[in-house]
Symmetry: C2
Subunit: 213 residues, 2 copies
């Protein structure tokens, strides 16, 4: 009875490994291929361990979804808080959402695999909503700052409406652009996104996109 030798890891480390393995499996084989055994193999442990760290497979998937979404949102928000004037921060925010690592086949695969759970699982719906609202608020704040910087008075309601539209645009461009990256080869996604947002906000052409990097 030779039992496998193993390493006792810390709780956070093990959880992170398991979630990473889950995401690997989903990206490679889809939700269907992300079985308890596959995930465990990828993480270098045996299947039973998963239930020692999560109440069940579903809970692990939820944790994985949470990580993917906060990853995307944080990436964009981080890009927008690195200083500079409001115009620059907004530009960075938009560009971050339509360039790697956000525009990445793997990220899209993960997002797509999870989104179909939203209509079925209330926990997934809550995670989605929370992230959506966080994203929207960050965008709204950026728009308010931009208008303030340029001496315009724009109501909060109008900023929110603009944020909804800009978010929709970013979502859609990200989705289609990542699904069929080759179709956007000539004119980059980022350029399309920037000039579109300019138009949405009724700024003059180049006001947002023309940049000193």
């Amino acid at each position: 009875m030779n039992r496998r030798s193993y390493h006792r890891a810390s709780e956070t480390e093990r959880r992170e490994d398991l979630i990473a393995a889950t995401l690997d499996c989903i990206a490679e084989f889809g939700i269907r291929g992300a079985t308890v055994r596959q995930i465990a193999t990828r993480a270098g442990v045996t299947g039973g361990l998963i239930r020692h760290y999560f109440a069940g497979k579903d809970q692990m998937l939820q944790a994985a979804y949470r990580q993917v979404m906060t990853g995307i949102t944080d990436e964009a928000i981080r890009a927008a808080t690195e200083g500079g004037d409001a115009r620059t921060r907004l530009r960075r925010f938009i560009v971050a959402n339509v360039t790697p690592p956000v525009t990445d086949p793997r990220t899209l695969s993960l997002w797509a695999a999870f989104i179909s759970h939203i209509p079925l699982d209330p926990t997934f719906a809550a995670i989605h909503r929370e992230n959506y609202l966080t994203f929207l608020e960050a965008l709204e704040a950026l728009l308010l700052a931009l208008h303030a910087e340029q001496g315009r008075t724009v109501s909060r309601e109008e900023c929110r409406a603009h944020a909804i539209a800009v978010n929709g645009l970013i979502d859609g461009l990200w989705l289609e652009g990542t699904l069929a990256a080759d179709l956007f080869a000539d004119k980059g996604l980022a350029e399309t996104a920037l000039s579109s947002v300019e138009a949405l906000l009724r700024l003059s052409p180049g006001e947002l996109s023309a940049s000193e990097t």
Copy 2:
């Protein structure tokens, strides 16, 4: 040996029933719940019959995906070809994409369930691409017609770029608006979409949305 009595249906009829049952199951239980047995039960037949009409479960799913996507695209294109001037047709096209039956929890569930197969199954990718391009071309034609009608000269390239942006916007608004319909209760999705497209095309406010129905 009492064997169930049954009805011999025509090939097209049976295929349609099976696809409809597949969509019902996916909308209700997700891809996970759309098993051969569930689908067969819903269609009022036994599981074996599926393999008499489709090479396998995957092929049936592909047929179902094709039907959902052409359903969406056709709905929008039909709305845009019911006559009227270019401005009216474009408005109808946009509105059709952000109102029922396109904006519908069921439609979203189906779309979401299928989209995760795109990165994994080349057939799904091809179906997506075909529909995307069809949609884009319809949109591009509408934009060309609009500009011609209003006596502007706008290059085909610019129209295509606008079509890409407008498509992205519509996709994103449709997605978020259907996922969280309650957040959009105050200002309708259609109104948001119309004024956003106006801005994207740099039309003057109300030029597209103000309407005699």
